[in-house]
């Protein structure tokens, strides 16, 4: 089968130059629910990129090759190699930090530009390599979450977090910042990759009871986070403390269930996430994604969209398929790019230099419950733009 299906409309003038961007996304496995949404974001972004390039008079066409890495490091490396062997020089993904680590050696030595929209591990903040991240590191968000919890009156919290690189690092930063603010926290890690977390939630409930904490801080991905909150909604003990949540569960469809919505209202659940709030581009992006593909923009959709855009413009700017040239072009392009996730400038480690953070809540709407951004982090404190819970 040829690639003909990709290009609607007839080719008229000179043949277009084709730029291919490779993707390695978690279409199966633990992150597959985000991966599926990301896939749609990629379609939208490539579409937009083509339109923009055309509008600027480039006779080019961007194409995406999407491979599934099942959230495993080895598969991610295999995908990156497969893409490289097709002459692809810019790859977006993989999702998890452990995967990025596994491909780092290969992309650095083969001069392939890799942009991860979601890897936030501080250990990957390494200057001079070919790895870029369009999202800020966990340390930043941990500070915001700590501030949020403290500002909302929590003094003693349980940090209930994934026992993986993301969760552990996030939790460590959170505890550090929270104690700096004057609060105290208890560490409760839970094993990832389980089918259900009812047992963990039960243990959490007894911990909450015995330790008499004011709040639970949940640091999770979307599926596990959704699962945990659904079970927590069943428990009177867990419904009686405040909940503060990381970006993971934002957008998870199962949190719009009435039971969870009611739970959120009762516990005044608030979450943080990397977000350039009040960004009209983002609102537009969200709307078009919903209209065209029927999916809600969830976590890291904006950073992924921007990653695609940056990659495309960098390739156009470099004009060659030399990895080093694209790398420099990317850094340049990012300096002037304002996208759905805000300003895209990279720091010396290739990570997003200025990350803004917003606060979200689950609020009642006409049709049920929905996610809503209700505040921003500004100069050391949270400023609410809306009152989420009465």
């Amino acid at each position: 089968g040829g690639a003909a299906g990709q290009a609607p409309g007839a080719a008229q003038q000179a043949p277009k130059k084709v730029y291919t961007i490779g993707f390695t996304l978690p279409l199966t496995g633990e992150l597959s629910s985000i991966g599926k949404i990301w896939e749609k974001v990629v379609y939208l972004a490539i579409d937009d990129l083509n339109k923009e390039a055309q509008a600027y008079g480039f006779n080019v066409e961007f194409k995406a090759v999407i491979l599934d890495d099942g959230t495993t490091p080895e598969k991610a490396l295999q995908n990156v190699q497969t893409l490289a062997q097709q002459g692809i020089k810019v790859i977006i993904g993989p999702a998890a930090s452990s995967q990025v680590k596994a491909v780092k050696g290969f992309v650095d030595s083969n001069q392939i530009v890799l942009i991860s929209p979601s890897s936030t591990a501080p250990t990957l903040a390494i200057p001079g390599d070919f790895i870029f991240r369009t999202v800020g590191s966990d340390a930043g968000q941990a500070r915001v979450l700590a501030t949020l919890a403290y500002q909302e009156g929590a003094r003693k919290v349980i940090v209930f977090h994934r026992n993986d690189e993301y969760g552990n690092a996030f939790a460590d930063f959170f505890k550090k910042y929270f104690s700096e603010l004057g609060g105290s926290s208890i560490d409760v890690p839970y094993q990832t990759g389980l089918s259900d977390y009812a047992a963990e939630v039960a243990s959490l409930a007894s911990k909450v009871q015995s330790e008499k904490v004011d709040a639970v801080v949940l640091i999770s991905f979307d599926t596990d986070g959704g699962n945990i909150l659904s079970h927590a909604a069943e428990s009177p003990v867990l419904s009686s403390v405040r909940w503060f949540v990381s970006e993971g569960p934002h957008g998870a469809a199962e949190l719009k269930a009435p039971a969870v919505g009611a739970f959120a209202a009762k516990t005044k659940l608030l979450g943080t996430r990397p977000l350039f709030i009040g960004n009209p581009l983002y609102e537009d992006f969200k709307k078009r994604l919903k209209e065209k593909y029927g999916v809600d923009a969830s976590v890291f959709c904006d950073t992924l969209y921007d990653a695609v855009m940056l990659a495309g413009w960098a390739m156009l700017r470099a004009g060659s398929s030399d990895g080093n040239a694209i790398r420099s072009a990317l850094i340049e392009v990012a300096k002037h790019y304002y996208g759905v996730s805000g300003w895209a400038i990279f720091d010396e480690a290739g990570d997003k230099a200025y990350q803004d953070y917003g606060v979200w809540a689950i609020v009642k709407t006409d049709g049920g419950y929905d996610f809503k951004d209700v505040g921003v982090y500004e100069r050391g404190s949270i400023v609410f733009t809306a009152k989420p819970y009465p």
Partner: protein, 319 residues
């Protein structure tokens, strides 16, 4: 009072029901066919997704209907696997380990097929099926007992587990066909020579194994906070663990295994956490430690083999 009470206790029962629904079919299928069926996870996940699709596409809110449909789907998948793959392989003289790997192949296929189905369903409804929240059913009551609210899944799971255990007991112990089932497992060729319709029995076995596990899956949708196409894969090791405690052949021991593992995973870890500060992230660790302890302390006989070897053989006495 036990830590985590009463949730841990409730969860303990809840999980016991699920492990019975998931593991007893596995034990049954191994016992009667000697196939270690890796595709067992598919029965569960297709049971889950039968309920999910019924709910998401047709708005069904009847758990009874979901269970019936799941039984049909799970049972058919198991039968199709057997008729199109396992039996032809066996006829051509494939070893059991080869059939086991064929079941791995099937497992992979069904997993991706499920993702494809979810994609197609998304295309038509624009709903997210890759991660689906808990379903609230209209036809199962929540029961108040001693001031405790027993969820729908508790009621339905308890009922289904009871039905499965009782009907299997009656069938295996009280009917000739049930006894014949054991004979087929024991010596298939002789069973045929004795006039036992081995094919019928094996077909029936697969139907029950696939169907019952899928019913468990359907009920799971009313329990778990979120289901994904990999929900079943994520728990299959536990399910196998329970069956292994049963020596893969004894239904009774499998039932006890279900109780033991459910207890350890819920009450056990909560107690260790409370009294010894063991992090709850050790839950799967504990499951496997339990399995190892049981395997080493009481090695199951039967399928387990057993070597007449004594580590402390009596010292030779000479004159």
């Amino acid at each position: 009072m036990l830590p985590g009470y009463p949730y841990s206790i409730l969860n303990f029962f809840q999980y016991t029901f699920f492990y019975i629904l998931f593991s007893i079919p596995l034990t049954l299928s191994y016992r009667n066919t000697k196939v270690i069926n890796f595709a067992h996870a598919n029965f569960i996940s297709y049971g889950i997704y039968t309920a999910v699709f019924l709910n998401g596409l047709l708005g069904n809110t009847s758990l009874a209907l979901a269970c019936l449909a799941a039984f049909a789907v799970g049972g058919s998948i198991a039968l199709v696997n057997h008729l199109l793959v396992f039996r032809p392989l066996e006829k051509r003289g494939a070893s059991m380990s080869l059939i086991m790997i064929a079941s791995m192949g099937l497992w992979i296929m069904y997993n991706y097929a499920l993702y494809m189905l979810a994609d197609i369903a998304h295309y038509y409804t624009l709903k997210n099926f890759i991660s689906y929240g808990r379903i609230v059913y209209a036809d199962v009551p929540e029961v108040e007992l001693l001031g405790l609210r027993l969820q729908q899944s508790f009621v339905a799971g308890g009922l289904a587990a009871l039905v499965l255990v009782a009907s299997l007991y009656l069938f295996l112990e009280k009917t000739t066909l049930g006894k014949a089932m054991r004979a087929v497992a024991d010596n298939p060729v002789l069973a045929e020579i004795s006039g036992i319709p081995r094919n019928t029995i094996v077909n029936l076995t697969w139907l029950i194994a696939g169907g019952a596990a899928a019913v468990g899956g359907a009920i799971w949708t009313s329990f778990s906070g979120t289901v994904t196409p990999t929900s079943a894969d994520a728990m299959i090791l536990q399910v196998f663990t329970v069956s292994f405690i049963g020596g893969l052949v004894s239904l009774l021991r499998t039932g006890l295994g279900a109780v033991a593992i459910a207890f350890i995973e819920n009450v056990g870890i909560a107690a260790l956490n409370t009294y010894f500060g063991v992090p709850i992230s050790f839950r799967p660790f504990l499951t496997f430690v339990t399995l190892l302890t049981i395997l080493i302390a009481f090695p199951p006989l039967g399928a387990a083999g057993g070597l007449p070897f004594r580590f402390r053989s009596r010292k030779v006495r000479a004159e």
